[in-house]
Amino acid sequence: MYRSNVLVCGGTGCTSSHSLLIAEKLKEELKAKGLDKEVNVITTGCFGLCALGPIMVVYPEGSFYSMVKVEDVPEIVEEHLNKGRIVTRLLYQETVEEDTIKSLNKTAFYEKQKRVALRNCGVIDPEKIDDYIANDGYAALGKVLTEMTPEEVIQTMLDSGLRGRGGAGFPTGLKWKFARGNDADQKYVCCNADEGDPGAFMDRSVLEGDPHVVLEAMAIAGYAIGASQGYIYVRAEYPIAVKRLQIAIDQAHEYGLLGEDIFGTGFNFDIKIRLGAGAFVCGEETALMTSIEGKRGEPRPRPPFPAVKGLYQKPTTLNNVETYANIPQIILKGADWFASMGTEKSKGTKVFALGGKINHTGLVEVPMGTTLRTIIEEIGGGIPGGKKFKAAQTGGPSGGCIPAEHLDIEIDYDNLLAIGSMMGSGGLIVMDETDCMVDIAKFFLEFTVDESCGKCTPCRIGTKRLLEMLEKITKGQGTLEMIDEMEQLCYYIKANSLCGLGQTAPNPVLSTLRYFKDEYIAHVVDKKCPAGVCKDLLEYTIDREKCIGCGMCSRKCPVGAITVTDYVAPGKKKPAYEIDHSKCIKCGACFDTCKFKAIYKG
């Protein structure tokens, strides 16, 4: 028994700022002070509050240290772990209230959250199967194999109302029912861990923080549909996740929880890892299976659906990481428990990766039906720098931008579709008044043009033409007719593309056109970028009444475009400067240099 447990976050965000070195240093210091038998150091998965990383929590006190540096470790060991005096200056300041220290669960970031899929992240050591088992791990698999028929498992999934967390929201139970209904000598269970949406990292955090939950749920799926082999297709860009998955698979084998005759019931199930190689389209189910087969990851027409002909032409069921992370608890706590959370048609919780212009960047899990306002303003702590909210982007390159007027909408699959976005895998990027919506649409189109696999024409050529039009608009070469043409092309691409990538690729354009048409018009009619992002439409000008003639801007200008005039403003001692627009390269160096706010852009 240890008297203290120190949890250090080992998720990708915190390891990038050296949390593993911090854990090493801790162990070293504790050993040097002879405390290593009294204080236990545990490397966990992601706590969610990535903006404050590296994160360290000391129990039993529950002291939440944030932005810890390696140099802070000796002080924490000596003061806190040796003498019992909490190092207040390193605590997350929101937990400090005059003389007392608040529980982490009472802070704005955690209070409104409900952790189901993330329940073990930041709690257990993901590299120890015993930690998982101590938290009810593999109990659901035991229950399924010894007390339930496959039909009962599927019925439980149907009753729970669980829908696919990868984005489209197809009912999981129905998927399993279809795969069960097709007879074959071999069936497969696949896990989609090819989290390709830029800005989304919830699946990675589950894999890093709680890998066994995915293995357990896949085995349950295997039992339900009658499969003995599983594949996890995971991005090679997630090395920590891959490593911990492999450790988890090996440990599960050792304990007889994977392999042959699991729990002595005669049920066999094994799992292999397949690495992706950086192709966004492989998040599409048929493309993912083609890629597991070792080929170019091009999608196949559906039907036949994977439940009929999937991997190696055999019936296959494919679910996303977060979907799997919910399953063992649905089995243990019952379908009614799960269905009691959320909205009428979207049950349970959803994990969002909160990023962009937001104070608390990180992972949040909330019941379906929570409003966007709650997520952004309360949990996310609002927008930094007192800037004004402009839009929230959900669904990545397949989704859309949600404007301020819809901040109070209850988030679920159907409501998001109704306002022209989609749930997607859960990336939620917040944008403020300094983001140009035409530029954002262009950014996503650049992404889809790059990632279009090229198999079908509407997507390959259509997205390229869309991008060309957006480029013209951001350069001030657009026309009003072009905006109409663009909209028509969007609907054409949506209606005619082969797979989900092409069918949703125009969404960023359509949703920005729907809510921010005034910005498009400003670009084509006034030739201005209201947010000041599109360089070709930008002009820097010196306000000669405000200029004090210090000449700093002129010295900073890399192309000598700023020269002195003979005008001296009233009350100023030296003549003002001016910018020669024919020479200006719009680098913004003068704007950043001027302390007197005499230079404006627009």
């Binding site: 390709g196 090679a236 962009g356 960047t361 990336g427 990027i429």
Partner: protein, 166 residues
């Protein structure tokens, strides 16, 4: 995705070839072996020149066009060598809205190369990469295994200097 194919001569060693043969032998009977073999081959050689692809095609007894097709399809497979220090700038959405585009431009300007290129002395290569999931640190870049987060454009010359001297 457009791939830059290297025109530099192939400099594989017999040791590397022996390693590759081992990898091929290990996967030969697996269904769908091409991708895992290409991944391990890239770990051995650092990139996938045509010579290596040919050895894989012959070793696994699949047509070279299939190997080439797979190697050019996925963005992780590199057909040109990387520099001693490979700099990856994350262009995920969270990083992009926080100015990673400017970071990439600054690097490009400082190094005199475009994204997906390598400096003439072989010291630096520059890549624009997809979201690495460290969105809490946006904007982010990596130099080999070192991660730099919450970057500003002004920090770039200083960071490069550390590696130039090394």
């Amino acid at each position: 995705m457009l791939k830059k194919i290297s025109s530099l001569p192939f400099k594989g060693t017999p040791e590397q070839e022996a390693q590759l043969k081992e990898v091929i032998a290990k996967h030969k009977d697996d269904p769908g072996a091409v991708m895992p073999v290409l991944q391990e081959a890239q770990d051995i050689y650092g990139y996938l020149p045509l010579e290596v692809q040919t050895m894989i095609a012959e070793g696994l007894d699949v047509p070279i066009d299939e190997v080439y097709g797979v190697a050019t399809f996925y963005s992780q497979f590199a057909l040109s060598p990387k520099g001693e220090y490979n700099i990856s700038v994350c262009l995920g959405t969270a990083c992009y809205v926080k100015g990673s585009g400017n970071v990439l431009n600054k690097l490009s300007e400082e190094l005199g190369i475009e994204a997906e290129e390598c400096t003439e002395d072989g010291k630096f290569s520059l890549t624009a990469c997809r979201c690495i999931g460290a969105c809490g640190l946006a904007p982010v870049m990596t130099v080999n295994d070192d991660v730099y987060g919450r970057l500003t454009v002004d920090e770039i010359p200083g960071i490069l200097k550390k590696y130039k001297g090394a």
